[in-house]
Subunit: 242 residues, 6 copies
């Protein structure tokens, strides 16, 4: 049940878990759209809701996240971690207000991970909603590299929104990108911005992507999400009165 | 140019104004979807961008706004005015970071109006971006009543997303709704929540809606928006250095 | 019962509603004092308390409000909407602490309206006090124009504090002012500051003002306020335990 | 020059220092009004402005301060220290915006002292305005005790607003009050609220008050303030550009 | 029982009061270390815990406080009063979470006093913990002057950490210091920074210090603290449920 | 150069990098002290400063961090991530104020990692200081397991503060602990608190610890830190004017 398309009278029926897709609007190289992470979060959330054995509410996706590290590339939008946490928190609070107090945040962007973990802990400990932050590319087992706008993300796009992948630019994307996420020393990543190490924003080789692999990733992520939804619903935890 | 579907390399070309659609996810009676305001904001923004004589950037829509007044109806989502202002502000700051310092916020929800006026004033005075908050139903001249989920909004949906209007429920919507927005005394509205005066959340009679009138509203709103975009671009105002 | 002049022992007697006057210190042209809005709020609150059939507590006036739009004119003072809301909220919280949980904010400044609506909603929904934001010039029915330092405000001053109106400057005030509140396009006011459209800060023609009309405005506003106080006291609503 | 009564055109003339009176609305026993501290701040500010050899701007008084310690007594109003500091800070910022960057805060309430010192330091170090927090009863040399609603405050009222002193209740005030401000141990005051140690809120014996002594206190405080204004104006310090 | 060196299993035994030492890292002239205030707070807290007739928990010291006034001297560290209050407040909240709801903050720095009084009042009134802010040099009766890095502080160091006093620089310290804490007018200290009146940061003559006097100060402060702990434990006050 | 023990006059000499140790006060099973993480951070910082080929400033350790997940065990202290970030940020700002604009935060607690990454990015992007968050156990290559109060931490304590390890309780520690950090599903850790999966707070088997291994860990961590310090000092980056 996608909230945006449902009436309130239909939303009243029982659902035992809510999904909140969270993406970002940020550079994904010359070949993939700025909305890649939001599209991925929405696609995985829809797939997870289908695969789940029960009724799930799907909220509209949060479209702008913690993406300041890509700000040197045109069109990248971002909010501060504080504002992002507040926006996610209050959206989950309103879901919980309607009794949907088991929530999985379905995330498509690495830069959101730390902030989501923090806000999900807060919501859970405060007794608002038991909230689990799921990131699709951390839930799948694959030989494909993640990188940024790399094989995994490009594959997922090819399987879900192929018209948005500029295939004629894949060579250029690979040539102008970086092999890894910047310089490391003693376990510390020294770069704070992707422009420090990647000329066109890409990390990894998107030419390794394929629609077939994308379909497999979507299946795996959707199944992982559905399994998580089941565990979240069964988790011992109680909402505190408002 | 819709940012979500564009690559950063294509986003680099000149655009002289940016549009930020802002909606909400909130009850719109038994006949219209919770996403009505977001859908309206997106549709009007797209129409305005088409009608505008120049290049415009369209950001992804902010999907949850200041809608606490509808919280008694299932599925309504909301954030506080503070968080809403912060989210809008920082999104506009990132648009301005890329040089798009003329911004029209294209709004679809009455409850957002005050907060948008406040944050747009702040952004403009701070020298971030000259920001104008446009609300589509305040820009059109019509005999249709606004209400809530009433003739105007229902018409716009019929013209843009007719499959989302539950036409079989229009009688019920009209019968269970209210004629006006609560009780007033000495210029003061005494109600803080729509459930105080409307049984099903509707205000006004959605049976007066039609696709034809919706098309006319969309045209008028789009033209109004395009005219505003022109004035905003020509306005004397200068961005301050970061 | 004006709190500032009352002892705590006398303040203990029953009152069923509290008034909080809220003004501003901002330019009102060459002929009217910077304190115009505060003086108006105090005068209307006093008149309303007299007209009210019951006992009312009148708090001291909040003297500085949301007036940044007049900052180009000497002597204008302002605070941010956030600070204004916090100051009003906490003052109302302390009124409610003493059991005065029906509060009318009596406002004299247009720039305060949105912020007051927001904070009054919050106080009411939080169960602190049922709080209604009353703005005197929105409560009266008159042919006089509002503008800024125009016929209505100048009339009210002539009826309450005539010595503060510089009548010898009325010609100059009218000549250097503006006919309306800046430029509009598609329902959007493009100006954020009064200096953008008025050379001396005046909007409207203060020469149309008269003491007689001011007396009528004061009567009408006081009666409207008293009527509102009655409705506020009777409103179904309950304070939540601290 | 009292801002509230001045026009902006008259406020433009040169003044070299601004005064911001700061009071509170809080219990002052059965004999003195809740507005005692605000009245004192206003009276001393007016006297200081008169005594000062130069032009001074006097802002309207901040009427509600840090008075939570008196909340057990009816009519006491208070805001948090954070909100109080913000309100004072932003009011001083707007004074400084007009070039009045030498500011003396003229305080009438002991509970405001710490918060004023903090905000004045911030304003000064930030280059907004050189700001000095003056508290009238710390500026005079007298044998009268301060207490609360005691000899000093009652004397000042008798000299400035005698009609507000309920002289018939002085015996009761003295009998029901406390000799000192609660219990101390190792330099620490153990009480956080005046109700812990005073039955009627009074500390000290207001029967020792007299109009004559009040007049002397007013003279002394006004002269001290005028001397401070001179030093503040001469202080080496520079405003930073906005 | 010093928390830092205790296991949680041993921390479970009954203690009826907790001590939170609070210091600062700031210049103390050429002869005394930047950590002087933290060292003093720790030494006095340990002595007080020993002298106290009961079990006390001693938390680790907060090492950086409100010391911006010394920022012109190398190595001085500081946080804002807001952040300092938040850090102290939340640390006390966690002490109270374990049932230690009688807390004495043992302070070694004058610049922390106002902020500690504010946060201790808040914690006490909110029902978190009855919290008393103790400042060691306000608790002792001595003829030695306080100043800054003066006789009292230098004596305490000589009695507790003599190796950290650069005795060879005492002449220089005295010669380059100030006799008192800046200029005063009408009860107002005009200086916001120690560099305005002291060339090397010292106030007072540290040559008057001695180990013997330091030992006496430590005894007196420890006894004062122990007495306060007793009063704090016996104070009528109740924690509110979380 | 440890700031706490240095005078400001000695702190003035050139240092090209500053270290800020950050620990926590939280349960470490029945055998290790609550201060384990702070002690580790201090020991590693000291070792790194020694190993570094240049002059380093070492600030006093932040003793309480983001440890709410251990709150079910007595003596655990914690602050919110917001307050922790503010405290670290402002301490680094004051280091940078003195010209030490290359800072390594030396961290001993896993729960601090996300918050430190966020604040270090902010400080670096804002031009305050190039700030790198180093966590000692992520910098060493070892076969020992990390867990919590497990082999690595216990070894480090045995090598640095052996008297604080209760060796007689190692059997009990191992028996009552957990093998791993709670339940995982689809890449998501379902536990928010250590008490959900460990009876005595231990994760891993501390009996595998030894002083020898601790000495090796300390060497490796110190060398890693020193290497990082070199890279941080050489990093191309510029402080922005205050």
């Amino acid at each position: 049940m996608h909230l945006a398309e449902t009436t309130w009278t239909d939303a009243e029926k029982d659902a035992d878990v809510a999904l909140l897709p969270v993406g970002s609007t940020e550079q994904h190289g010359p070949h993939a759209p700025l909305g890649t992470d939001t599209l991925a979060a929405e696609a995985v959330a829809a797939r997870g809701a289908d695969a789940y054995d029960g009724e799930a509410v799907v909220a509209p996706a949060v479209p702008v996240g913690v993406s300041e590290e890509h700000r040197h590339f045109a069109g990248t939008l971002w909010v501060s971690p504080d504002t992002f946490r507040a926006y996610v928190r209050e959206t989950v609070e309103s879901l919980a207000h309607h009794g949907w107090d088991r929530v999985v945040v379905v995330n498509g962007h690495g830069g959101n991970v730390d902030a989501l973990r923090e806000v999900a802990a807060r919501l859970t400990r405060d007794g608002v909603a038991y909230t689990a932050p799921f990131t699709w590319f951390d839930a799948v087992d694959t030989d494909l590299g993640m990188g940024h706008a790399g094989p995994m993300e490009t594959s997922l796009l090819l399987a879900t929104r192929p018209e948005l992948v500029r295939e004629g630019r894949l060579e250029e994307a690979a040539a102008g990108g970086a092999a890894r996420w910047g310089e490391w020393e003693a376990g510390v990543n020294l770069a704070y911005d992707s422009a420090e190490f990647s000329g066109n924003g890409v990390v990894g080789d998107p030419r390794e992507a394929s629609e077939q692999q994308g379909a497999a990733l979507l299946d795996a992520a959707g199944e992982g999400l559905a399994a998580l939804m089941g565990v979240v619903v069964d988790r011992e935890w109680e909402q505190k009165g408002e």
